[in-house]
Symmetry: C2
Subunit: 250 residues, 2 copies
DNA sequence: ACAAAAGTGTTAGAGGTACACCCATGT
DNA sequence: ACATGGGTGTACCTCTAACACTTTTGT
């Protein structure tokens, strides 16, 4: 049992410290968050995360926890640390778990943990989730249709979406959430999903083009109506916008 | 030695986890940060901070670390966790320290720590620093004239000032940094100190008044020239502005 | 021809910058 | 009277919300 979940044992990790990542993906027009559940916790979803090796940077631990899920193309940024001593309910009160009582794994899991939370941005289209033995089930959960989650993960998700709004002001979040090329409609839908309010079509278009960080690539005909132009980020202008502290907000 | 610095021993604390606070104070027109140094570290200044009791909320630990310095009227907010495994240099390489080698205190201090950092806002005028035995020397350091600090504390300070700029957009930071009553000149000076750029007098005045969260109290004659009006925050409107997500920015 | 979706133009208002001007005080 | 600093007015600019109009496609 221990070998299955902790092939290296638990001594290699820092006690009391965990990392979690709220991975956002955008499937037009829905903003989604990556969640999983594993056999011992059957009825609730959890955020990806893990523990920190004794000489590992916490940022590296966050990246590693996603790599285990098959995600290596991801933008990560730390946002908040949750440190309520009772944020994780005592395991004796948790029903959806079936580790043997008194096992080393239970001892490890029942200590107090503070968790350093990151948000992650991935391209929903190209992100293929690995179905590893450890993680029985992975899925994208709609941010606005939250389902039952373990511990305080549901509030971590909603907290993180609010913080993402601030990020949107100072950081071109869309670069890491959209495919290489995308339409204005998709980009605007993404902004609307994060801000949770409609944005005027014309105004959005003009503002984004005036920033000068995206350029026209081609056209695309979707279902009906006029074909839409497709765009991509100009890498050079994009990098420049980061150091110039451009305002991307609405 | 152990009793002097850790009267309860070290077992009462979570290992590997520390908290630090960047306490800002404003003495017109300088933005200051509270630093201290204690005997074993003679040549470098340090941020206030401490360790977390095993069943204590990390926020509570941050408050407690300031209470030890005699500060109990303070607004605190968590901003960032620093988790580089080598952020604290090996004690063998630190010259300004004189704990006995091999002592329990050295064992505690030489473990790896991640530190959860908060910013704190206090009223500079009414904050009297306690000169406790543990803290030989306390002082306010000018944010823009950084002095030598231990570990990575200097970069924590500069990082935190940048994050304070974002806070300024969404949160009436001034409420907690100014005295109960203050002039427009003082308030504007505070904004300029945080943003590190000049702001037009008339524009600032009108914007602040239009927010409707401050009200005129009295007048005050300083040195020469026309007396200035003094203002205070209207508690009710202030509280209201917090839930309405008002924009305080420039 | 019509609907649908994308692209473009236009107007009005809000808010900020920059600067000029006026007012109250001490010397 | 003058210098000094606080209070107020204003013209200009930028941004954006709102909505109308035009263009390009499929049916």
């Amino acid at each position: 049992m221990l070998e299955k979940y902790f092939p290296e044992g638990t001594d290699v990790f820092l006690p009391h410290v965990a990392v979690n990542v709220v991975v956002f993906g955008y499937e037009h027009p829905a903003l989604r968050v990556l969640v999983f559940r594993m056999p011992p916790m059957n009825n609730s979803w959890a955020l990806p995360g893990g523990y920190v090796y004794k000489s590992e940077h916490i940022d590296a631990a966050a990246y590693r926890s996603l790599k285990m899920l098959g995600i290596d193309q991801v933008f990560l940024k730390q946002i908040q640390t949750f440190g309520d001593p009772f944020r994780v309910p005592a395991l004796s009160e948790v029903k959806d778990i079936d580790f043997p009582a008194g096992s080393e794994i239970m001892k490890w899991a029942s200590q107090r943990f503070i968790t350093v939370v990151y948000y992650g941005l991935v391209d929903y289209e190209t992100t293929k989730l690995a179905q590893e033995r450890l993680y029985r089930e992975c899925k994208w959960m709609d941010v606005y249709k939250p389902e039952k989650m373990i511990q305080d993960h549901a509030s971590i998700v909603s907290e993180t979406r609010k913080l993402l709004i601030n990020e949107l002001q100072n950081f071109p979040v869309a670069k890491n959430l959209l495919a290489d090329s995308f339409t204005m409609n998709e980009m605007r839908g993404l902004y609307e999903a994060i801000l949770n309010r409609p944005i005027d079509r014309g105004t959005f278009r003009r503002k984004m083009l005036s920033l000068g960080i995206i350029e026209k690539v081609d056209q695309r005909k979707d279902a009906r109506g006029r074909p839409s132009d497709t765009y991509r980020f100009n890498q050079e202008k994009y990098n420049q916008s980061l150091v110039e502290e451009t305002k991307f907000g609405f």
